[in-house]
């Protein structure tokens, strides 16, 4: 609980710093307006691009990896994906007006409705990780597709491994 409050404070501080960073690095009238009027992800990044504000700019970068994978019948975050999640957490905290939809998926084994539940559990595990990092729950939405919309077709272990996933959709 205390951790959460601290994290929230940190998030607010960071986001303020980013807004400030935007306006100072961009320096134009337009940049200022963008910064104060909400600073959605696209605007922040454009105004900050290619200037000296690179340190703050790092927090604004949306991680290029938008999908993490899970073991069979598990919603546990695998250690190799923690850096991806931290990257998204930082991005979301730096852009408090940006929302993300976490799409939860399962492989095709088992019944479709039960797999909706498994996909949701995975997305919730990611949501919890993000909120512990300090992301506001109001920035996160969850949609479970279960085994619908597989990333890879087929009945192989390789296909299953690619389908048990959570996708960050901005």
């Amino acid at each position: 609980m205390q951790m959460k409050t601290y994290a929230k404070t940190l998030a607010v501080a960071l986001s303020l710093a980013v807004v400030a960073g935007c306006s100072s690095s961009g320096g134009t009238q337009e940049g200022d307006m963008n910064g104060t009027s909400g600073g959605t992800s696209g605007q922040g990044m454009t105004s900050g691009q290619g200037t000296s504000g690179s340190q703050m700019g790092a927090n604004e970068q949306r991680p290029s990896v938008d999908t993490i994978y899970f073991a069979f019948d598990s919603e546990e975050i695998r250690p190799e994906f923690e850096s991806v999640l931290r990257g998204h957490a930082q991005y979301l905290m730096a852009n408090p007006n940006t929302n993300v939809t976490l799409q939860g998926y399962a492989d095709e084994r088992g019944t479709r409705e039960y797999n909706l539940g498994l996909g949701e559990r995975r997305a919730q595990a990611v949501e919890q990780y993000l909120t512990v990092q300090g992301v506001s729950p109001s920035q996160i939405q969850i949609v479970s597709y279960g085994e619908e919309r597989p990333a890879v077709q087929g009945h192989t272990e390789e296909a299953y491994a690619k389908n048990r996933r959570v996708v960050f959709s901005y």
Partner: protein
């Protein structure tokens, strides 16, 4: 009951966003063709003589062949091949029972069809060969477009006269088709005759559709669609296409199941954190939460008497079936064989359950006797799911895989006979067998 339903429907429709879907504008036809995969060794031999046609030219449908196919697909009959028919009588007066005894036909069906204006007059008779007597005879009129339906009606009468069980050949199935991948994925909900013919598209979408469920009066279909960006439960009139969105809570809106009186819909909603079983009163739209457990609780199904529900829960660590009162309270675990049992469906007599069970060889359709707990695995394919029981309890339709393609399969409730209904293109899945419609 019908009158109440119509009232309830109006109330429901008035309160919610109603969207009209035009059948004519997007109607697409699809035929699934039955391929028999396993015949029963205990099927009763029956001779079905081609019906004599006294009109000009030919008939658009071979009525006797449709009757023969229906009876064969039930797994309870093995029709004699046409080449082994000893004679071609068209009326019981022309039948010599000894001829049919010699070819081991237990029963015999004969008939004739004659034009009557722009209609057809169909006369058929059923005979008990061993008893040497006529069991059934009837005359009906049919339009050209209704010849298949008339054939299914005749199959129903013959099936019931011999087995004592009401025939389900005039019922329908709903199913979901899926084609394409990624951004090109297309989904559609179809309604077809029970033998896969006359499939009509009743909904199409870029987003997944699942879990169709017929209302007990056969008028409406509830289903889950992702068209709004999340799962939501819709109820659609099967013939007019008129529909309402019933639930669109945050989280999962899934697994709709009609109560036997058609007044309530059980469902799984995760709006409070994880999937729980709820029951919605369709007239008032009041929701009652029945389960409170941090596990996944989904796939509810009503007992035929409406007094209890079974559902899937993984509260034990893996999915198993549980039974509880339809008003809530303690749930009792029902399945103990194996570590994966889900999507339970009551047999119409309430004495057994059909479900998906997992063993070393994959996911199969199984039947569990509720008194003895005895489990019989009915299918031997690897990827079987979504069982739906015929209203007379004799067959179960399910989704399975044939090569890389999703197809529908059906198995007799004793497991002795099975057939498949592959689609000419794309995957088909999520079958739902309608109630009796006549």
């Amino acid at each position: 009951m019908k009158r109440w339903m119509s009232q309830g429907w109006k109330t429901l429709a008035a309160g919610w966003l109603v969207s009209l879907w035009c059948l004519a504008a997007t109607a697409q036809a699809q035929n699934l063709t039955i391929e028999i995969t396993r015949g029963s060794d205990q099927a009763t031999p029956i001779a079905i003589v081609p019906f004599e046609f006294s009109g000009q030219g030919g008939l658009p449908q071979d009525v006797a062949q449709i009757v023969s196919d229906d009876l064969e697909h039930s797994g309870q009959f093995s029709p004699l091949s046409r080449s082994s028919l000893v004679s071609l009588p068209s009326s019981s007066e022309d039948v010599f029972y000894d001829d049919w005894k010699r070819v081991d036909a237990r029963y015999l069906v004969v008939g004739k069809i004659e034009p009557q204006g722009d209609q057809y007059r169909i006369q058929y008779e059923l005979m008990d060969v061993l008893g040497g007597k006529r069991m059934l005879g009837e005359t009906l009129t049919s339009s050209s477009g209704d010849l298949r339906a008339s054939a299914h009606y005749i199959s129903d009468q013959i099936f019931e006269a011999i087995t004592g069980i009401r025939g389900a050949f005039s019922t329908r199935i709903a199913y979901v088709s899926a084609s394409g991948t990624g951004d090109n994925a297309r989904y559609a909900l179809y309604v077809a005759d029970a033998d896969g013919h006359n499939g009509q598209q009743v909904l199409s979408s870029d987003d997944p559709i699942l879990s169709p469920a017929w209302s007990p009066d056969g008028q409406k279909i509830a289903y889950v669609s992702f068209e709004s960006g999340n799962s939501a439960i819709y109820v659609q009139n099967a013939s007019t296409g008129e529909r309402v969105r019933l639930t669109s809570f945050r989280g999962i809106n899934g697994a709709p199941a009609w109560s036997p009186d058609g007044r309530k819909l059980a469902m799984s909603l995760s709006k409070d954190g994880q999937p729980e079983i709820y029951v919605m009163n369709l007239a008032t739209r009041q929701l009652t939460r029945l389960t409170t457990n941090p596990a996944i609780e989904t796939e509810p199904d009503w007992s035929p008497d409406g007094q209890s529900l079974i559902f899937t829960s993984d509260r034990s660590g893996a999915p198993q079936l549980y039974r509880m009162s339809a008003t809530g309270g303690q749930a009792e675990r029902v399945t103990f064989t194996g570590n994966y049992n889900s999507d339970g469906r009551f047999a119409p007599d309430g004495k057994s359950l059909f479900m998906v069970t997992r063993d070393d060889s994959g996911y199969h359709v199984a039947k569990q006797d509720l008194d003895t707990g005895r489990v019989t695995v009915l299918t031997d394919s690897r990827w079987d799911e979504s069982p739906s029981v015929a209203p007379n309890g004799t067959m179960v339709i399910f989704a399975t895989q044939q090569g890389a393609q999703g197809v529908l399969g059906a198995v007799s409730s004793d497991g002795r006979a099975s057939f498949r209904l592959p689609s000419a293109q794309g995957d088909v899945r999520e079958p739902a067998w309608s109630p009796f419609l006549n």
